[in-house]
């Protein structure tokens, strides 16, 4: 890359950031060096708390006053660590633009998009107020927002999530900054929208030649976008290098471990290899190499425990901070062959399923006005059929708002069912009374994304796990405190932790407690609603493995609700894909991922970023247009037709039936179901459909 020769746009040296906490500095960033050049995307990857966001805020001079900064940050000839407020302000929006994570909160709800797009440039005196409207329209056009002239006077709430993030990108680029910092820009977005926003970001980067720092925890996004990668751990960069190197031949044990712990769309069914323990808190960093308590290479050597390794060259432009770089194993990513899963009793499909859902409908009234009159129905679930057998895992995937959680809650009897049937354990439970439903719930339990959000923070973990037993009056009968201790052991927690309170647990441990609580009554079915969505990659693998072990030992059936297609692929036997309240395709896992026949499944799968930079540009990608419509007014006919690359006239008139697809163990709801046929020379499958 010729740009490498030129002066870097941003140059960070020995950056340290500490926050004062109860009178003592807590180091969040501990000495990092970075260079970013024009025309370059630097990816920063790391788990939560590793210091990624603090680094980005330091670069833009946006750290809170409680932060203590040392070292050097040079951006466009200005030393940021020494600059006064006014200099920093003049630099923001001109030399550096920022894109933040959650587009629902990064825009001010009470000002128009147009105003927010241009007010920065007006404040900098680079845009006259009377030219602002025209400029805002131009900016919106540059990020592909349809009808920019109409949109510019709208407010953020009138934009969808993806459009908001486009607007934020336009805002960050409004002043043609040399550097763009995007901190988790797509983490809050659905996968099809993520694909749109990433390709927009890549396009605008190429058009403007800006340097980009892309911060994310998602290795797939890094592989897809970055030219160079910096891996952060415990406030430091532990490895950096060209993206191909980082993925093909990582030279730090942490990077290797991260890649191994990842469930992958292109991986096998092999057991995941979690990283033991959890990421360190800055207030409590291990001495020596911060990674040593979790490192597979360290083997308890004194040097790792006492001496912090510095970054050393281990290849062309490739640095690693490890005393034993030579011993770092080749990536040998988990593939079909290695680390096989312990065998599990076969699922018997000939008997009656444990759970049968037939044509389930849940419609919520939409109310308006002071008298809360009903003005319509929101069809959250509109004809869902699925079965779960004893000991089986059925994955339910779909983008946000498609009705996954409502389906799970309806099965639990937590929302009123509008139509259809639910059978559980040979019994119709569709309209059971409260008492009878409570008995049924003994045998099926719900696990939330964050089990503690809805729980009493002043109860101890032991009490929380015991609660279902007490509610059902079975505490003593089922073994009392001894039972609780056994449940703790089952989920890999020490019974000594029973007396602790929720805030004393990490995210992964909280989820273990949630699972222990769900297991207390010896249920037969667990409904797991995004159980790993808010966990870091390394912890996610621990929980997935735990769930698989428990299933094997206890012959549990799982209804596994998630948006992450890789995780669902890893854990499920069968998978159902939902769109706008309906299941559009359902099949055996292998068939669904290898030969999807519904256009939505096909798009969804192609939108997932794969952590392999060598497939960038090679892998076929269907970028869906638009976003999920409002379930209160679904499009007529096939609800997917406005976004479907195969849609015909019939699709907008007639809703497709959910039918078996010949030759595959698949059912799909599509008039034109069929595998993707790559045409010779065609880049996108839609060109041939």
């Amino acid at each position: 890359m010729s740009a490498r020769m030129a002066e870097p746009v941003l140059s960070v040296r020995a950056l340290e950031v500490a926050f004062m906490a109860s009178g003592r500095p807590v180091p969040a960033v501990r000495g990092i060096d970075l260079d970013v050049h024009a025309n370059e995307v630097l990816g920063i990857v790391g788990e939560s708390g590793s210091g990624k966001s603090v680094t980005s805020l330091a670069i833009s001079g946006l750290l809170p006053p409680t932060a203590r900064v040392r070292g050097s940050i040079r951006l466009g000839g200005v030393e940021i660590t020494e600059a006064d407020h006014e200099t920093l302000r003049r630099m923001r929006g001109v030399d550096v633009g920022m894109v933040f994570q959650d587009p629902t909160t990064t825009l001010n709800p009470v000002f128009t998009i147009g105003r927010q797009l241009t007010e920065g440039q007006i404040a900098h005196g680079r845009l006259r107020a009377d030219a602002a409207r025209a400029r805002a329209i131009e900016l919106l056009r540059e990020v592909d927002i349809p009808d920019p002239a109409g949109r510019v006077i709208q407010y953020p709430h009138q934009f969808s999530g993806g459009m908001r993030q486009r607007a934020v990108i336009a805002m960050a680029m409004a002043g043609h900054p040399r550097l763009i910092i995007a901190d988790e820009p797509t983490t809050a977005l659905d996968v099809t929208v993520q694909a749109q926003v990433l390709s927009l970001l890549a396009r605008r980067q190429a058009e403007t030649g800006a340097a980009v720092i892309l911060i994310t925890h998602d290795l797939g996004v890094i592989a897809e976008m970055a030219h160079r990668v910096a891996v952060m751990y415990g406030g430091r960069i532990v490895e950096s290098g060209p993206v191909e190197q980082i993925f093909a031949r990582p030279r730090h044990p942490y990077t290797v471990a991260l890649l191994r712990s990842l469930p992958r769309l292109d991986g096998g069914a092999a057991r995941l290899e979690p990283i033991p323990g959890q990421p360190p808190a800055p207030s409590n960093l291990p001495p020596g190499c911060a990674f040593h308590p979790r490192c597979a290479v360290a083997r308890d050597r004194a040097r790792c425990r006492t001496e912090e390794p510095g970054l050393r060259a281990c290849g062309p432009a490739h640095l690693s901070a490890c005393h034993f770089v030579e011993e770092v194993p080749a990536p040998s990513l988990p593939r079909e062959s290695d680390g096989a899963q312990p065998a599990r009793p076969a699922v018997r499909r000939d008997s009656e399923p444990l759970l049968t859902v037939e044509n389930l409908q849940v419609h919520f009234p939409i109310k308006a006005g002071i008298l809360r009159r009903r003005i319509g129905w929101l069809r959250a679930v509109d004809g869902v059929s699925l079965t779960v057998h004893e000991g089986e895992t059925v994955g339910l995937v779909g983008e946000s708002g498609c009705g996954k959680t409502t389906t799970g809650r309806a099965v639990m009897g937590l929302v009123r069912v509008t139509g259809g049937r639910i059978r559980f354990g040979g019994r119709d439970i569709t309209a059971l009374g409260r008492g009878a439903m409570r008995q049924v719930r003994r045998h099926m339990q719900y696990v939330f994304q964050d089990p503690f959000a809805s729980l009493n923070p002043i109860k101890s973990a032991g009490e929380i796990v015991a609660e279902p037993l007490r509610i059902h009056g079975l505490y003593d009968e089922m073994g009392g405190a001894g039972r609780i201790a056994r449940l703790f052991e089952m989920v890999g927690l020490s019974p000594g932790m029973m007396g602790r309170f929720p805030h004393e647990f990490s995210g992964g441990q909280k989820q273990r407690i949630g699972i222990a609580r769900a297991l207390a009554l010896e249920p037969r079915l667990l409904i797991l609603d995004e159980p790993v969505a808010s966990l870091d990659v390394s912890i996610q693998a621990q929980i997935i493995n735990l769930l698989q072990d428990l299933q094997r030992e206890l012959r549990l059936a799982y209804l596994f609700i998630a948006h992450d297609l890789s995780v669902v692929r890893h854990i499920s036997d069968r998978v159902a894909v939902m769109y706008l309240g309906r299941i559009v395709e359902e099949s055996e896992k292998q068939a669904l991922y290898a030969t999807p026949v519904h256009p939505y499944t096909q798009s969804l799968l192609s939108a997932v970023p794969v952590p392999d930079p060598t497939v960038r540009g090679v892998r076929r990608r269907i970028v869906l247009e638009g976003e999920i419509p409002n379930p209160a007014s679904p499009p007529p006919g096939c609800a997917f037709h406005p976004r479907c690359f195969r849609a015909s006239a019939r699709c907008s008139a007639e809703a497709p039936a959910f039918l078996p697809y010949p030759g595959l163990p698949t059912r799909a709801a599509c008039h034109h179901a069929g595998p993707l046929i790559p045409a010779p020379g065609a880049k996108h499958p839609q060109e041939v459909a």
Partner: protein, 315 residues
Amino acid sequence: MIGYILRRLAQLLPVLLLASVGIWAMVYAIPGGPVGMILGENATPEQIAALRAELGLDRPVIVQYWAWLTNALAGDLGVSLHSRQPVVSLIGERLPATIQLGLAATVVGLLIGIPVAVASALMPGSWLDRALSGWSALALGVPTFWLGILLILLFAVHLRWLPSASGYVPFWESPIEMLRNILLPALTLGIYVSGIFARFLRASLVAELRADYVRTARSKGLPERDVVGRHVMRNAMLPFVTIVGLMMANFIGGTVVTEAVFTYPGLGRLLITAISTRDYPLIQGCILVILVIYILINVMVDVLYAYIDPRIEYA
């Protein structure tokens, strides 16, 4: 916008109607009823029957209510049992005074409360913040009669700058006299609400300052005065206008103590007198007027709210 206001008003009509039933029915809540009130305990049955007929109390309930309602709508709220004057004119004398005081007190409260809130929210935890929070606590904690007396002692008795008894002087007759008369009661009430205003606004400013959009605004290079003065302030105003409206409504009829201290001719004292003399037409009239104003202020707050927050549609 106009349509929205009309619709909001229309939506509140049922509330008003319901309330009017309640107010009218109060007649029956007074021990002995109005007849007993007027004739005393030793009346003969004939006297009672005659008065009942005269007052129309022998008619069916619905007819009585309808008569009362149509009269009220026509601006006739009956005659005070005590002073024998039309209730409408009694209230009419007091209402402008009450509205003037309420507005003046609100202005004082905002003039003190907003700067205090902004200053302390910008430096949470600082000595200034602590000092200003102390002020708010003090403003809320000091009883109004005590503060009123203190102000009278200082400004009227000791310094002799202002009158100790405050009369009602319409603004358009003599702005100076009006200010001289209203300053002390307005200060008394204003200082009290400034404590409430400052607390609420500070809390909502502090919360808004942590919001993501503030970071976005700063990342664009906006000067801090725009970040706070425009972005943050506008959002923080949302919960605040509700509180201000509530307090203003509270000033209509709810300022008896201050009125008593300054012998100010407000609606609050009229109502208290009416209650203590069981002057039921006057009680009904006062409560009805207070209720109508309360509803009008509510509509105003709603309109303002919708104006500030684009997420609320004029629909």
